[in-house]
Amino acid sequence: MPGMPTDGGGAIVPFRREPGQGTPSPPPMRPIRHGVAPPIFRVYISWSSGNLLQVACLRPPNSEVCGGAEEVAGSVVEVNLGCGSSGGAEVEEEIDEAEMRRIEYGSVPAFALLQSRKNALADAAAMSRMSSVPDYAEWWQYVLEYSKTIGNLLGNPDSPAFMIEDPKTILKVREKPTSLRAAWELLEIFYVDKQLQSWLPERLVDWLADFDCLLSAKESTVYSKLSNFQKKLINLQIVEDDPDYWNGLSAALSVGWLDIVVNMLRFHGSYQLDQMDNRETENGLVEAVAVLVSTMPRLRPNLPTGKLGQCCKTRPDFVKAWEKWRGQVTKLECSAFWIQCGHKKTCDGLKNLLHIMMGNIKELTASTSHWLELFASHFLYIRPFTVGFEGMHHLAQKCIQLKPSSGTNGLTGLVIGVLSENPEVVLAECTQNFGPWLVTHAMELLTADNDYADTMLHEERPNLGGISIEELHRIVYAQVLCSHSLTWQIAPTYLSSCLNQGLGLLEILLLKQPIQDNRLVLKTLEICRLYELENVSANIMKIAGIYHWKHGRKGAGVYWFQQAHDKVRLDRIAQQLFERIGKSVTDDSFKQWEGLLELLGPDIGSAGGLEFLHRYRDFKRSLQQALDGRSGEAARQTVDFLIQLMRNPSTPQRFWLPLLHDSVGLLNCKPSPLMNVAETTLLLNKLQELSLAKLRPDFSNNHLPSHALSSVRLALASNLARAILEDP
């Protein structure tokens, strides 16, 4: 929008800085260095790609008089908006921009592959409705593969650390997990992985083990308890005297981190060689508890290496093992050895652990901190057979009542949304806390095997302008990608998966790309080629052509016009050449337009009068040689070219006289005639035609000397005379 400058303070647009209380925060100001001298006539502002703003400042067109030749008449500056102050999504604080871009790039192939599989299945289903049903039943496996690929991008919590671990390390040193990965895994567990659905409680326990540290930054968690104790551990002489030792043990046990519990039990003072003899019973009790902990039955198919417990694949197996194990726990609890144990803190601590293993709700509530931890401990010790979302949701509500947490974290909100079987809530939590990347990619997980979510996300809504929620989120994500000059190239993948508005937006995106750099233009054109957008690519080439032409790179301009098959503009260029040739045929200008002719190439006929121009070029070149070298051969050839040109109907009439005038010198200097009678007669006829045409009002003047016509006539006449004489 053009704005007129005002008088006040050089500001283009009137802008009042009011100190009034009504305005809560002043609008952000950005000084722009445009380098244009003060009287600024117009300012144009337009969006460039992404969040770049282009501001053009122009001086009044007639002000050169006072300025002088070196003054800049105007300039265009680019302003990058939105540096640093990106949206408040939690993810962006945790993951830096470059890392997020790495994730964005990495997820593109997986997304594209899944979409293509979806399309292939849809096509197959359309072709034969019956046979495709079994294929579709395995759809979730494709989604699982997709989910695993993307999960790996988000960081691998099990990545092996190549270091010798200190035996006193409680929590393994590893890269800090991100909440983005936690959210992704959670969705995968609940929505995609059908194979492990019956072991859902144990999977939640595993999930909590990986991501407990993310649950709360301020409030205490099992993880924070253990890491605090770890720091303290170095300075402790007698660990079993410290209450934090036992607190840590019970906390770790309640959420099922059995390996950590066993490892920590081995720190117990009674294991030290010099104390073995005095504390034999005590040591026996510690060891007995450690054995019981490490043999706890788990209803799951397998355990990763390093984790403890005995796996039971089926329910009957588990029940049998559970009864036996519980029996052993109870037996130990009632054993008489406790009386012989001299260390009271050890006795209390170990008994506490036994109570946790026996599923004592009071102990479990006391030893856990966050409601999700309490939730997990229920699965481990009280209700190992919990199935179904309804039961879980009830349990979660109960745990929240017992352990109310001050603020809801994105992850806990997500868990509640999932358990309440409410995809809308899940989607809203993802949008709010994890940003557009997660939403766009996680929608595939939500719809993997959930008909309700499928309908909800794919239904076209009039209030969204006729697009579905899925498409809306993809478009939002594509916009985010477009706003960065390095990621815009992956936006087309997402836009092309949007059926309603994607293609239109893709065309706008491609047309908005900068055309200054040939390589970038070629990258844009490659995308056009892949999506078969011939019209867009032709338009981009034309825009690039005009840009280069205007900036004096005539070669590049013509190249792009030719690539775009832009006959109209190539004809215009040819017309310009005509004009120039019409005005002057001096040798200086000849060199200039010869280069242009070279560019227009041998593609004769592609652009109107170019055929003539090529022949004319050949004629001029030959004429030059003939006049320089004065060899008979060159002269003869020149005359041949001349005759060809004059005979050719594509030669415009206004060039007849200049052509003939150019050859006057040649005709006159030769002792013997160069043309025979017939040729000379042809030229004379043309000359006659020209003289008649001169009387017509539309005749164009050739800027030739007034005697041109007569000198040509004289030369031709003398040539004719000599030709007649020589003619046998």
Binding site: E97, A98, Y105, P109, G552, R553, G555, Q563, G595, G601
Partner: protein, 371 residues
């Protein structure tokens, strides 16, 4: 960007396997994310500055760092994510070339920067862009033993050499006045070099004949077009009369000066009777591959073109050979903008990937046996 082609081609179930092979990297290929766009990448010849470590030079563009967006980073091969040194540039690098005498970079604003073998960025010398040198991007850059040649999109060709007192002196060889735009330049001998550009094919210049073009070839372009854009030229030092040229529409052809009117197609779309095209998009760079043995050893002394490595916009890194099936080394999901073969250890290849990373490929004898 091959992704769209995946989704288009995936209608036929067989092609899906291709994608899974793309995702799993072979152990001989390592990817290093750099957190900024990598436009060009080259191996540095071993220098006194770092005798023990092999170094890479990469042209980096990071739009988020404001005025310091463009630079040349020198990266140790063992850990390419932490630069050993860097040289700031006034604008995005458009050409990068390494010689024993210096590391040279040309930019999109028409300047040329030389870094001495000591790799000390304070000792770097430059020719600023502008009316006296180049206006706009300089894509052609090469060292001929005595002088650097630069060829720009503005149609100018310069020879740049030392002025004796440590300064750089640029001498204009030719000014095309925008009628032509050059995209590539390569020396054949200290007196001859080749240039190529948009719509003008390849030119052969001879300095002994008054700095003039002595031979010209429009090239052969696929898809029925009469002209294309040359992106890269390479000349094998052992056969100085043959240029190999890569450009638009997956076109790779060889030009033998002894038969200047008959370029030899190596790959391209729509060439009847020749080998299948290795890619259909822009071929960004070509280099003679000294590591791959010509399959036809007996007649290798004859006119057969030596194997050529290429990288393309659709993510292909491959070795093409006359009348042979191309050997695909990488098929990435994003463009490969640049690559370089280590001159001292030609089994190692480094490439710049569009998605802000570089890849290092180590070829063993077994990869040769596969094909």
């Amino acid at each position: 960007m091959v992704l769209a082609s995946i989704s288009l081609r995936a209608q036929t179930p067989g092609t899906l396997n291709l994608q899974t092979s793309v995702m799993a990297d072979s152990p001989s290929f390592r990817r290093h994310p750099l957190a900024a766009s990598v436009d060009l990448v080259r191996w540095l010849s071993s220098s006194a500055a770092s005798p023990s470590e092999r170094l890479l030079a990469a042209a980096i563009y990071d739009p988020s760092s404001g005025p310091a967006a463009s630079s040349i980073h020198l990266l140790p091969l063992s850990d390419p994510t932490s630069p050993y040194a860097s040289l700031p540039l006034p604008s995005r690098a458009t050409a990068l070339r390494c010689s024993p005498a210096a590391l040279a970079a040309a930019t999109s604003s028409g300047s040329l920067h030389l870094l001495p073998p000591s790799l000390d960025s304070d000792a770097a010398v430059a020719v600023p862009g502008g009316a006296g040198f180049h206006v706009g991007p300089v894509r052609g850059l090469d060292f001929g033993g005595e002088e650097w040649v630069t060829a720009g999109e503005d149609g100018r060709v310069h020879a740049v050499g030392g002025g004796g007192d440590g300064r750089l002196v640029a001498r204009r060889v030719w000014d095309g006045k925008g009628m032509v735009g050059y995209e590539a330049a390569r020396w054949a001998s200290p007196a001859e070099f080749a240039t190529g550009g948009a719509g003008c094919g390849v030119q052969w210049w001879d300095r002994r004949k008054g700095d003039a073009v002595v031979a010209q070839c429009n090239g052969i372009w696929g898809r029925g077009i009469v002209t294309g854009m040359v992106h890269s030229i390479d000349i094998n030092p052992s056969r100085k009369h043959i240029c190999v040229v890569g450009g638009s529409s997956g076109t790779i052809f060889a030009w033998d000066l002894r038969w200047p009117q008959q370029p030899i197609p190596l790959s391209g779309v729509g060439f009847n009777g020749t080998t299948e095209p290795v890619c259909e998009s822009e071929v960004w760079e070509v280099l003679f591959d000294t590591y791959t043995q010509s399959s036809d050893i007996i007649s290798s002394a004859s006119s057969k073109i030596l194997p050529v490595m290429m990288c393309s916009e659709d993510g292909i890194l491959a070795v093409v050979e006359q009348d042979e099936r191309p050997l695909e080394l990488l098929a990435e999901a994003c463009a490969i903008n640049s690559f370089d073969i280590d001159p001292q250890n030609p089994s190692d290849v480094v490439c710049a990937l569009e998605w802000e990373s570089i890849g290092v490929l180590t070829r063993g004898r077994d990869t040769m046996a596969e094909e």
